[in-house]
Symmetry: C2
Subunit: 267 residues, 2 copies
């Protein structure tokens, strides 16, 4: 493992490609190995034990592939498995909760932050813990939005139905007068337009992908592991099942087409 | 394996409990082992290879538990894995496609049948094949309804949003003037009210659970494997992950509470 080793990124599915996109923009020389557990997606309604088991298996795979850092791009896995991974894994591990929480604290004016995510992420209390660790005076209101993942995966990103579903989830947060909303799931940035339509005017949406990329940059810099080469890094993707409409869905998340994709057996 | 051996039933999740309910009603003396692959649900957007792999693993587990017949209660697994299982498994295997197709053919008057299911089931063409095998003159129109499974699992079974989603999926079938609609997924009977509201008046909905139970009865009778005892059979459930709100969701599908549930590792 050296500064030219790749960054390992994993997610339950393809949503974490939004984090890959932010990493590629900030750290273009870095090679990235992306692992999408598409055979076992979604994680959001699974038990903590199972999410820890899956995350540990994937981290083992990434380490075998000589990664220098592991980025847990999945909010659910970050919320439930990060502590275990940090203890057991031989390279630094970076989640998405702390960067998202930090960003929201910087932005809020009325100190009332909302967070939306999967049932598992919301129930974990991970965002509350991360925010209270920095500032105990902040009020946090959370809301699970279990239909947002299937809507995003279906590409059902606009129109009356999705606006109504978003209104159903977001009205309670509007009533609580949040001024900042953390998109606590890598799928949700695809629904940004609808979410913007349904939150109170001036509510700022926090998509943690860019904050995550900045944190990874800082971690690698501290460890003297930044790749300072001038060549563009490579992206290699592993998935546990080729999902239907893989190209379309992957492109939607990454913002560019996916070339180097291999299917591996889900352990 | 003897006539007192249990019937094995499996599904990707808890939807197959509707088939268990029909079996319990028709064959109260039979003991049933139900296997819900809740760690890896849903199957509807996975590849054929993966669905065959999972179905084979589960069938192996059921055979180790001395079942006398395996009922594939999942439409997606029936559509994609039944041929492989029938070839490789040492006990009779019964799916849900043929009984549902047979029932629809009996009922249709204008010989135009609709079928709704997961993307994988619809793409497999399994219902078309089963229907054409019996009657080539029938017209079949199919529609994948990928949001119905998450809606049913969320318990979002009525109201404006779900009516609109159902209308979106069912309008093309209404326009084609189907008079019979196969609910080609074990989750869909939970949405029966909404589906009834959104199909043309007089369209008959086919929920294959009862037809499946009758087919299993006939198969066991032919093989001289019916349990003719007077004692009520036992239901034992195995799941690969305890899903959130397991009790509520399971009860919704089974119609009564679930007592004897064990979690097993997903192979």
């Amino acid at each position: 493992m050296s500064d030219t080793s790749p960054i390992g990124v994993f997610d339950s599915g393809l949503g974490g490609l939004t984090v890959v996109q932010a990493l590629q923009k900030l750290l273009p020389s870095e090679s990235i190995i992306y692992f999408g557990d598409t055979a076992r997606v979604p994680y959001g309604n699974k038990s903590k034990e199972l999410i820890i088991e899956y995350s540990s298996e994937i981290s083992g795979f990434l380490i075998k592939n000589d990664v220098k850092i592991i980025v847990v791009a999945c909010n659910t896995a970050s919320a439930l498995a990060l502590d275990t991974l940090t203890k057991n894994v031989s390279v630094p591990v970076s989640g998405v909760i702390n960067p998202g929480a930090g960003e929201a604290i910087k932005v809020t004016l009325n100190k009332h932050i909302g967070m939306i995510g999967t049932v598992a992420t919301v129930n974990s209390g991970a965002y509350e813990n991360a925010i209270y660790d920095i500032d105990k005076s902040i009020i946090i209101s959370t809301q699970a939005c279990p239909l947002f993942v299937p809507l995003a995966e279906e590409g059902w990103l606009e129109g009356d139905v999705v606006e109504k579903i978003a209104a159903h989830y977001l009205t309670p947060l509007n009533e609580k007068k949040i001024d900042t909303l953390i998109l606590g799931c890598t799928h949700y940035p695809l629904l940004k337009n609808v979410i913007t339509n349904q939150v109170n005017e001036k509510t700022i949406l926090i998509d943690s992908a860019e904050a995550v990329a900045r944190k990874v940059q800082a971690q690698l810099s501290t460890l003297n592991l930044l790749n300072n080469g001038s060549q563009k890094g490579l992206l290699t993707c592993y998935v546990t099942d080729i999902p239907m409409r893989f190209e379309t869905v992957g492109k939607r998340f990454l913002g560019s087409s996916l070339d180097n994709v291999q299917t591996v057996h889900a352990f």
